[in-house]
Subunit: 233 residues, 2 copies
DNA sequence: TAGAAGCGAGAGCACTGCTCTCGCCATCAC
DNA sequence: GTGATGGCGAGAGCAGTGCTCTCGCTTCTA
C-alpha cells in the first residue's frame, strides 16, 4: 500500500478504514446477505450515495471485508504457529488448527463469508483475494515440508496408487508451493486441510445440531489428533 | 402428508409443488440470497401477494426448499448404499460418500443452502428439518454399527483418551442412534462425516482455487479411501 | 489565482418482502 | 336450491434495497 501524503489522501484512507470496520460489525450482527450499503452509510453519518465514492459497488465492499478477514485469520495462524518450535511438526499443525477454529468461533460471520456458500452473484476478484486467501494452506504446507525434510513423516502401511492425471495436479502444486513432499503426503495434507475446515464449518454452522456436542473443545481436539495421525506427522 | 381429497385441496397441493419446483430452479440460477418471492410469483403467472396464500414468508419458502433438498439427497444416498451388500462395509461408506458428492455437484445451490453458511436471519424450524436432515449421518452410523457388530473394524494402534464430558456426549449419541459402537469408533465416524462434507464443500464452493485440481474425481476418490482407513473399516 | 478534482447531498429508478382490502367463486350446511 | 363461509388472486401501498445522476461546495494543484 502506498503511504498517504496529502491530508485528503489521509482522510480518504481513514474513511475507507471506517467503512471496513462498520461493514465488519454489520456482517457480524446481520450476516453477509443482509449487508447493506445504505446501513453502512447511516452508521458512517453520511448519505448512501457518498459511499460510492469509496467503494465501487456492494460487491466491492464485500471484497474489502473478504481481504480483511483473510488477513486477520492469516495473522493469527502465523502468530500461533510461530510460537511452536520448527521441529515440533505435530505441535505446529495442532496450533494452526486451533487458531483456525478460534478465529472462526470469534468471527463466525466473516468465517461464513470466506468459507461458507459463495455469496450469489459475487465473484471474488482473484488478484486481490488469492494472496491473503492462501495463507492458511501455505502455513500447513510449510509444516509438512519441514516434517518431510526432517524425515519425521510416518510411512503409510499400503502406499497409494496415484493416477496420471492426478499426479500432474500434484506436480503443479509442488511447483507452486515450492515443496518436495511426495504425492502421498501432499494428498494426505490436502485431506487434512479440507477436513480441518469441514470440522470447523460443522461446528460454526451448527451442522452437529443444537444438542449433540456440549464438549465441543474436546471433540475438536480429538479430531485434530486424528487428522495429524492421518497425515502421518 | 395427508392425501388430498377435494379438488380444492388437490389444486392447492399442486400449486405448492409448482412453487417448490420454481423455487428450486431460481435457487439454482440465482442463489439462496437472491431467491425472491416476487420472481417465483412471476414465473407462476401470479401476482406476488398470491404466493402468501401458500407460504407464510420468504423463510417459509426456504424451509420448503431445505426439506425438499434433504429428501432428495437422502433418497440418493439410501439408494446407492442399498446397492452394496451389507457385509461390504467399506464399499457402503464409499457409495455414500460418492452419492453425497454427486448430488452436491448436480445441485450446488441447494447443497449450499443445506451445508453452507446459514442464511442470515433464517432459522430452520427443527420440527420440519431435523428428520430429513439426519438421513446421511444415519446411513453412515448404520455402516459403522454393522461393521462393528461384524468385528470388521480395525483396532487403533494407540487407543484414545476420552474426557468425561465428551464421553457423556458420546453416550447420548449412542442412545439417540441406537448404536453400540465404542467411543473411539464414534469419534472416528464423526470425523469422517465432517471431513466428507469438508471435502465436498471445498470442491463445490471452489476453495481449492480455479486451477488447482483438474482430476477432481480422482482426488475425491483418494480422500474417501483415506477417510475409510481413518475410520478403520 | 484560476481551473481541476474530490466529495457529500438529494432526487430518482427499479427492485425487494410483506400487509391490507376488495371482489370473485367454489364449497358446504340447511 | 339457497345463503353463508372461506379460499383465492389482484391491486395498492409501505418501507426498505442497490445504484445512478446532477448539483453545488471545498480542497488541492499548476
Amino acid at each position: 500500500m502506498s503511504q498517504a501524503h496529502t491530508p485528503r489522501e489521509r482522510a480518504r484512507a481513514r474513511t475507507l478504514e471506517d467503512i471496513t470496520r462498520i461493514g465488519r460489525r454489520h456482517l457480524a450482527t446481520e450476516g453477509a446477505a443482509a449487508l447493506s450499503v445504505r446501513a453502512v452509510a447511516r452508521d458512517l453519518g453520511v448519505v448512501s450515495s457518498a459511499i460510492y465514492r469509496y467503494v465501487r459497488s456492494r460487491d466491492d465492499l464485500l471484497t474489502l471485508l473478504v481481504v480483511d478477514g483473510y488477513d486477520e485469520l492469516g495473522d493469527l495462524v502465523d502468530q500461533r504457529a510461530g510460537k511452536v518450535p520448527h521441529d515440533d511438526h505435530r505441535g505446529r499443525f495442532l496450533a494452526i488448527g486451533r487458531a483456525v477454529r478460534e478465529w472462526a468461533l470469534r468471527e463466525p460471520a466473516t468465517y461464513a463469508l470466506l468459507f461458507g456458500s459463495p455469496v450469489p452473484g459475487y465473484q471474488a476478484p482473484a488478484d486481490r483475494t488469492t494472496g491473503p486467501g492462501t495463507r492458511v494452506i501455505a502455513a500447513l504446507v510449510q509444516v509438512w515440508e519441514e516434517a518431510h525434510a526432517a524425515g519425521a513423516v510416518r510411512d503409510p502401511e499400503a502406499p497409494m496408487r496415484v493416477p496420471r492425471k492426478l499426479a500432474a495436479d500434484l506436480k503443479r502444486i509442488r511447483k507452486d508451493f515450492a515443496t518436495t513432499a511426495p504425492d502421498e503426503l501432499v494428498l494426505r495434507g490436502v485431506l487434512s486441510w479440507a477436513a480441518l475446515f469441514g470440522c470447523v464449518s460443522f461446528e460454526v454452522f451448527g451442522q452437529y445440531g443444537p444438542d449433540t456436542f456440549h464438549a465441543a473443545d474436546e471433540l475438536f481436539e480429538r479430531q485434530l489428533q486424528l487428522l495429524a495421525d492421518t497425515t502421518g506427522i
